[in-house]
């Protein structure tokens, strides 16, 4: 299979145009770090954007950075960290979970749109993508959005590109919002709560005025895998409920005190600070209890999004029904479920439970033969699915880009 390593947007246009003319679908990759997510594709050439890796401009005072889509995420994170800034949506590092070697590129980060714990407060990748240049399935470069944070000029196509898994267009350059890093972080830990009680504690915390920027729950069984990031915190091997407060030091400490009082009915909270707190949240963000190298590394992993207050009921039932393990983020609104391997990764149980709450589930990790028989992405209601298909066709009528990745059987 040909791999075409494009050097600029013009190359991308030419490759896509040739692909259209030859009716030869393309797989779009950066570092390939998330290549195992989705269905096997019916592509017979690879468009590799990893050489489009320049930082176009970085203006810390404007809170924006403009990057080519192939820029390595690790380098960009170092660049903005040096100015004490960050992507507030806390992009997930999928490498440990998927057993992939690399952190990936900026383009991949946006196309997958996998936000971390701060999603509940700061939004997702879609909320931080301000503008993009991309090549559509018509083989034409277009731009959308701009380089300013406040902009309503024309349709917001950035929202569609974020989370499109490379199906609508090949992004070549993107402008992202960056935010100041908080000076301090404090995490309150409640110990030994069952899932339902933990969900109530997280709901109370997120409904408080203390500006909680992370709310996660790791049931006891989640510690089956050794998770270095948790250090001594996980020592007792009991369930942990984590609530994060960020900001200037005095404020974070003050709010931690107030929140501890509010949560007194749920037990006596202990506190971790700064580096230890950050390591604990990286463990949640990257779902390290289910890491590919750990005890559950061979288990399929689902990512379920639901109304936050429904999380514990959904997760508990699913774990009981399948013998699987779950961890909760987003105050219960995000459930990571590692389920014992079987032919369909327990898809019907997962989807039934998710649908009952109005949520949806994505099969993030599973062997290829399992993915062949299961919808990786949540099936949509017929009207929404039809509209989504028309939207896709408005960008890529010949289905040149990542053909078959989102829909089971579409590759045939």
């Amino acid at each position: 299979m040909d791999t075409l390593k494009v050097r600029d947007a013009k190359d991308v246009e030419e490759v896509v145009r040739a692909a259209i003319a030859n009716e030869q679908p393309l797989e779009i990759i950066g570092h390939g770090s998330k290549r195992s997510i989705g269905h096997a594709m019916a592509t017979n050439a690879v468009l590799d954007v990893s050489a489009l890796n320049a930082v176009t401009s970085y203006e810390p005072n404007e809170l924006i950075v403009t990057l080519q889509a192939g820029a390595p995420l690790a380098d960009v994170l170092s660049l903005i960290d040096a100015k004490n800034q960050q992507f507030a949506f806390e992009p997930m590092n999928t490498a440990p979970l998927l057993g992939a070697p690399a952190l990936g590129t900026i383009g991949g980060m946006i196309a997958a749109g996998l936000a971390g714990p701060r999603r509940i407060r700061a939004g997702g990748a879609r909320d931080h993508l301000l503008g993009a240049h991309a090549v559509s399935g018509f083989g034409d470069s277009f731009k959308t959005g701009g380089k300013v944070v406040k902009n309503v000029t024309g349709y917001d196509l950035c929202k569609l590109l974020a989370g499109s898994w490379g199906t609508l267009s090949v992004m070549t350059e993107v402008t992202l919002k960056v935010m100041p890093k908080p000076e301090a972080e404090r995490t309150l830990l409640l110990h030994g709560l069952d899932d339902a009680t933990a969900n109530k504690a997280m709901t109370a915390a997120l409904g408080s005025p203390f500006d909680v920027s992370g709310a996660a729950h790791l049931p006891k069984s989640a510690f089956r895998t050794r998770t270095d990031g948790l250090g001594d915190i996980a020592g007792q091997g009991e369930a942990l409920t984590m609530l994060r407060l960020e900001g200037i030091a005095a404020s974070a400490a003050h709010r931690a005190g107030s929140l501890r009082e509010l949560l007194a009915p749920f037990g006596t909270a202990t506190l971790v600070e700064d580096v230890a707190s950050a390591a604990a949240w990286a463990t949640v963000r990257d779902v390290l209890p289910f890491a590919a190298s750990g005890a559950l590394g061979a288990w399929p992993v689902w990512r379920i999004v639901c109304p936050p207050a429904s999380g514990a009921a959904l997760g508990t039932q699913l774990a009981r029904e399948t013998g699987g393990e779950v961890i909760y983020d987003w105050g219960g609104g995000l459930i990571w479920a590692a389920l014992p391997p079987n032919g369909d990764a327990h898809a019907s149980a997962v989807r039934e439970r998710a649908n009952a709450t109005g949520g949806h589930a994505t099969l993030i990790r599973a062997a290829e033969d399992v993915r062949r028989g299961v919808d990786v992405f949540h099936p949509q209601a017929p009207g929404v699915a039809a509209l989504s298909e028309r939207v896709r066709a408005s960008f890529d009528p010949k289905i040149i880009l990542n053909r078959g990745r989102l829909t089971r059987g579409a590759a045939a």
Binding site: K5, V15, I20, A21, E59, P60, N61, E62, N84, I120, R126, D127, S136, F138, D140, S141, K143, K147, V148, K150, N151, V152, G154, Y155, D156, K159, L160, A162, G163, S164, L168, M179, P180, D211, G247, I248, S251, H254, S258, V305, P307, P308, A309, W330, G333, L334, G358, H378, Q380, A381, G383, V384, L387, R390, V391, A393, S394, F395, P397, K398
Partner: protein, 497 residues
């Protein structure tokens, strides 16, 4: 009218009586308005320079009625213009002579308040402020706060992706909406998203938000609500030069401080506001910043000190810090009344809405001064300084021959300058008809074609709110045509592996 709207369909106009009767069969009683006098209130929105009575007004009160009206109109090839409270400043709800005006004013119910999931499910005709009021007893509020929040509807906010003073810290509408029920032009009813943080599949909610009523008619919305910050305090800082004020804004952001609001006014705006509300604004400064910090008291007190230090270092000539809610509200009173205040000193004004990179502020204001000279019209500037969103208010008198045209030309030049300085045509008011013909300043034909193809995915006949946003209308079949680029059948000569 300087803006050309799509030609009226005479065949449709000739069938008006029949169309009115058909609509009455769907929406009974007073829900269909066809008398010229009663329709007058609908002939314009907040962009009052443009007026056009619609063919007929229909005010459904159920989703099913909305669906039937749209299905009927789609079947008959009749254009439809949706309208919320009619506060658009860009003409987004300007009727069409041969179009049905579909008002959502009867969708006034809040359907569900769900504190555990921190969401409100509401009908689109509920005002922005009413949502905050409905949850205030539990300490919650809905964050986006456009200045028209008393009157503007949440449906209109979604259509326009409205902002407000606090969006630097809390985001625009798009960052605070989770789901909706939408009726497509075909009459099909769809539910997008819900109470979860994210939707599945393509982010349709994201692209519907800010689509200016061109993609569908929203009949229900799920919004996020937040706990009110414990306290808020404001600084009012005067500068002898606009450049120093701009530098102060940059240094505050550079220091990692994101204020709840950071507003700037120039001298004409300060004078107009002070004469109107007597907020105690200094009259001898060239620029005034109002900077609000919100959060826990301990944090606000600390940040106030840091901001004061930065302001002093930037050469502020006056600096007052609010010590009470009354004083904080007084600081804001002038800013919040800036538009009516300008209305007192000038018979008419045009409110512009461009965004520029923060750093371009001094040169943007210098350009506006030059243009003010050139067009011989006054201009007062208020500015969401934190996010670079500029609101020049161009002063004119509609009764003087040629002044409105001059004012519009002045405004267009300001927006061109915004694009030239790396910004955009509109930060929060929308394109509508007002900036429609300026779209090519920012977008190429290819860019606009891609946007219009998206429109085709929602409304293939182009019947929903035509004439807004896009300067040129194309048929969907034409936009969808694939131009095969001849002679380039092989992959180009680039590195392979």
């Amino acid at each position: 009218m300087a803006i050309m709207m799509p030609a009226s369909d005479q065949a449709v106009l000739a069938r008006r009586a029949e169309i009115v009767a058909a609509l009455r069969a769907i929406v009974p009683g007073e829900g269909v308005i066809d008398s010229a006098s009663e329709m007058r209130v609908y002939e314009s929105d907040g962009l009052t320079a443009y007026r056009q009575p619609p063919m007929v007004v229909v005010l459904p009160d159920t989703t099913e009625q909305v669906s039937l009206v749209l299905k009927y109109c789609a079947g008959q090839g009749i254009k439809v213009v949706p309208r919320g409270s009619g506060t658009s400043l860009s003409g987004g709800a300007l009727p069409l002579e041969d179009g049905v005006l579909l008002g959502l004013g009867k969708f006034k119910r809040i359907r569900e308040i769900d504190f555990d999931n921190r969401v409100v499910v509401t009908e689109p005709g509920v005002t922005n402020l009413a949502i905050s009021q409905a949850v205030a007893h539990a300490g919650f509020y809905y964050a986006p706060d456009p200045s028209s929040q008393i009157a503007c509807s949440i449906g209109g906010n979604v259509a326009e992706n409205s902002g407000g003073v606090h969006c630097l810290k809390y985001g625009m509408t798009t960052n605070n909406v989770l789901g909706c029920e939408i009726v497509l032009m075909s009459g099909e009813i769809l539910r997008i998203g819900g109470k979860g943080c994210e939707n599945s599949g393509y982010d349709l909610m994201g692209v519907i938000t800010g689509s200016e009523g061109l993609l569908g008619v929203i009949t229900e919305i799920t919004v996020r609500i937040l706990q009110k910050p414990e306290t808020a305090r404001a600084l009012m800082v005067g500068f002898a030069e606009v450049e120093a004020a701009g530098e102060c804004v940059a240094r505050i952001i550079g220091a990692g401080i994101i204020p709840g609001g950071m507003e700037m006014m120039d001298k004409p705006a300060i004078h107009a506001a002070e004469a109107f509300v007597h907020a105690g604004y200094p009259l001898d400064v060239e620029a005034l910043l109002i900077i609000e910090l919100d959060g826990p008291k301990i944090e606000v007190d600390e940040l106030i000190t840091r901001v004061e230090t930065i302001a002093n270092a930037c050469g502020s000539t006056t600096c007052q810090i609010s010590t009470s809610e009354a004083e904080r509200n007084l600081f804001w009173a002038g800013r919040k009344a800036a538009f009516p205040a300008v209305g007192r000193i000038s018979p008419d004004y045009l409110c512009m809405d461009g965004t520029i990179p923060r750093g371009a502020l001094p040169k943007a204001l210098a350009r506006i001064r030059e243009l003010s000279e050139k067009y011989q019209l006054g201009c007062a500037n208020v500015f969401h300084a934190g996010d670079g969103n500029l609101h020049p208010l161009i002063l004119y008198d509609a009764n003087k021959e040629g002044e409105i045209e001059r004012a519009e030309a002045f405004g267009a030049d300001i927006l061109r300058a915004c694009v030239e300085f790396g910004g955009v045509l509109t930060g929060e008011h929308g394109v509508g008809i007002e900036k429609r013909d300026l779209m090519p300043e920012m977008f190429t034909e290819i860019d606009l074609n891609q946007q219009q193809r998206l429109k085709c995915a929602f409304d293939a006949q182009g019947l929903l709110n035509p004439g807004k946003v896009f300067p040129t209308l194309h048929r969907c079949a034409e936009l969808g045509r694939m131009h095969v680029h001849a002679g380039k059948l092989a992959f180009p000569d680039i590195p392979r592996f």
